[in-house]
Symmetry: none
Subunit: 410 residues, 2 copies
């Protein structure tokens, strides 16, 4: 079974809102084995909406529209669908009562405009909206299904999950199930990962691997289509094993796992405590280390040492070293790591210094130059990095490399 | 002039990522008076992509694609466009040199895969990518323009603004202009704002006002359509004046201004320095204060004092106070503010302590309870807040209130 999503609303075409409904619906459809090859957006225009639905019905089994079910004259979905399928609009008394109850519960007079939302095409199934006013619709048309959902995400989500998904599962009788697994690598280099798994990226269905580059992170998504969930899981496990054997400890986690979560898990398991001294990241590393609930178990303190005075007076960075190598140097990063480790009495100290830009760069020390050091037991590790991007992007990539360095050395 | 946006990528159809590029491009196109009637998404499939582009070229003057320009075999945009417009792909030496320089700067071997990104259709204009590897393309086809942009937002945005918008403005000569202005208020005062501007929210085109509630922030968006930019700007200025006279210093900025930017501007203008002592926000306030370029002018230091020991030993929080009121109290927040102010020798000290959750709450001190204190000169201001949401949401709202408190008192 294939489905197509048409989002309706001029506010989407003007870019006033981001289309999160389409990604939500796409995810849910993939989960129940319904393929989506096209999604689109049209404005509040009956002619263009009719054309879009006709085209969608032609090439897909199910057409799902979102939006345009409100009480205003801009909301044209129901009229358009009724005209397309050739049905009269009839006032539905149950829907009208629902609407009146909705406003009564809110102690608000019933706005006359909202009567429009009770006009349902003759002989057409409607769906109660438990989170708003506009009911949904399920219309049969030339052997295909047209589903109309409201626009607000909080209304769409329960309606789709409770009322539409069971129907689609029943109608599609999918003889296969899709499962997926995302393998995550912290590092900005898509091409390096790409080279290691190149052959796997060419796999043909039912099991495929895709590569996705994000800021400071690469993800490999394994998808498998099979008759049973067990079979799909087995096919995924096989590929995952291959990927793991090639990328080894470059991989920090899977699916919804985060890098900070992986680091937290290791610190807790190994009963290690940590403290961070940050300059160019300005507290972002500490903030990410404390994004994990229960972080007080391992995080002792963070210090954002922006000025040389703070570096010297609180972290005991050597004035001579500061003068000789400059604040942005491997030497200073290392002394910051050792300094915060001692000050906090932690097992691990992290020091970060660099130039986040956009100003402050020089020819020898350009924007994006960052030094990260780790003092762990008696070991001292330092790295030189060169990042590109905005100030926030350089900060984020620095925190990403620092977290990965902790993960690999704790 | 009409434009149509086609986003390319199976990851979009699977709902793995939200399509923010389309909203960005739609907004920018509206600003220069280019109408968008359709946007769509297709997967990494040459046949469906070809069909989508053909249809778009048929009904729109400009077709903008995003994505599918990466170095992997999944990336099919260039080959598809070249086949469609009937041009050979030729290795472009300038692009190849750009690519090699990109990797050289990162001290990384040039991955052979990336040679693909230097293959440009014959006689076709390409656009340098200043934030990544894939160049953009501008192809003429049957009197229409096809523009190919990369997928990552950080690459698309500068390329579109610097290279594509000027070209479209030159070619389009629009007969009306849309302008907009967003007025920003920090804090969750949606209903207060709503009450103060209720009448403006009912304005009819050509000038309208919308209200958008975000986490810890409310935005009022004024939009105006007019024959000239000047006329639209005048209509907007009139409404803005009304809004400002009603909301006064609740407003922290406009359009792309951020709360941290507003705070930074005030601190620099008033030559004040600041230091932060954070507990539950874990460095997020410091990170936001240092997200602004030039923050070393006002930001002296931050301390993330998670444990009571750090609060006592470094911030000189009184043991008796800690015992009597607990770490999450107005008293401790105030002592943290004073402590960091003295330690840093700053003009302003901020102290934050609270329970970010999801665990750690009690009946008297539930998750979401946060105390924020400001020590400024000899003044001491403390606030008790009760937030709802996830750990990250509570951290963000706390940092938002702290920034706004600084803004109103510096």
């Amino acid at each position: 079974m294939t489905a197509e999503i048409i989002s309706i609303g001029t506010e989407l075409l003007l870019g006033h809102i981001v289309n999160t409904n389409t990604s939500f619906l796409s995810q849910k459809l993939a989960e129940i084995g319904v393929d989506v090859y096209h999604t689109s957006v049209v404005g509040d225009n009956p002619m263009r909406l009719t054309q879009a639905i006709k085209q969608a019905v032609h090439r897909s089994d199910v057409v799902i529209t979102t939006g345009g079910l409100g009480p205003t004259v801009d909301d044209i979905t129901i009229e358009t669908i009724a005209a397309l399928v050739g049905k009269r609009l009839i006032l539905n008394k149950t829907v009208l009562k629902d609407l009146k109850d909705y406003f009564k519960m809110r102690k608000t007079a019933f706005p006359r405009n909202n009567v429009r939302q009770a006009m349902i095409p003759e002989d057409t199934k409607w769906i109660r909206n438990r989170a708003g006013t506009a009911p949904g619709l399920i219309a049969d048309y030339r052997g295909k299904i047209i589903v109309c959902l409201p626009g607000p995400p909080r209304e769409i989500e329960p309606m789709f999950v409770n009322d539409i998904m069971p129907l689609l599962i029943k109608r599609s009788a999918p003889n296969w199930i899709i499962k997926s697994r995302t393998i995550k690598i912290a590092s900005g280099l898509e091409s390096l990962v790409n080279n290691k798994v190149k052959d796997l990226l060419n796999l043909k269905p039912p099991t495929t691997v895709g590569i996705y580059a994000k800021l400071g992170q690469v993800e490999l998504k394994i998808m498998s289509k099979a008759k049973t969930g067990k079979e799909a899981a087995r096919a995924i496990a096989l590929i995952e094993q291959k990927i793991r054997s090639r990328l080894k400890d470059h991989i920090f986690g899977c699916d919804h796992e985060t890098l900070e979560g992986a680091v937290a898990g290791l610190l807790i398991a190994k009963k290690k405590t940590i403290a961070a001294a940050e300059s160019c990241t300005g507290g972002l590393l500490s903030s990410r280390l404390t994004d994990v609930s229960g972080s007080s178990k391992y995080f002792i303190m963070g210090l954002i040492a922006y000025s040389n005075e703070v570096k010297k007076n609180i972290l005991c960075v050597d004035s001579e070293i500061l003068k000789k190598y400059g604040a942005v140097s491997a030497q200073v990063a290392s002394q910051m790591a050792v300094g915060i480790k001692l000050l906090a009495g932690a097992d691990i100290g992290v020091g970060i210094t660099g130039i986040a830009g956009p100003t402050g760069g020089t020819r020898t020390k350009p924007v994006g130059l960052v030094y990260i050091a780790l003092a762990i037991g008696s070991k001292l590790i330092a790295r030189e990095l060169k990042f590109r991007g905005s100030r926030e992007e350089i900060k984020f990539q620095s925190s990403q490399v620092a977290l990965d360095l902790i993960r690999l050395n704790v």
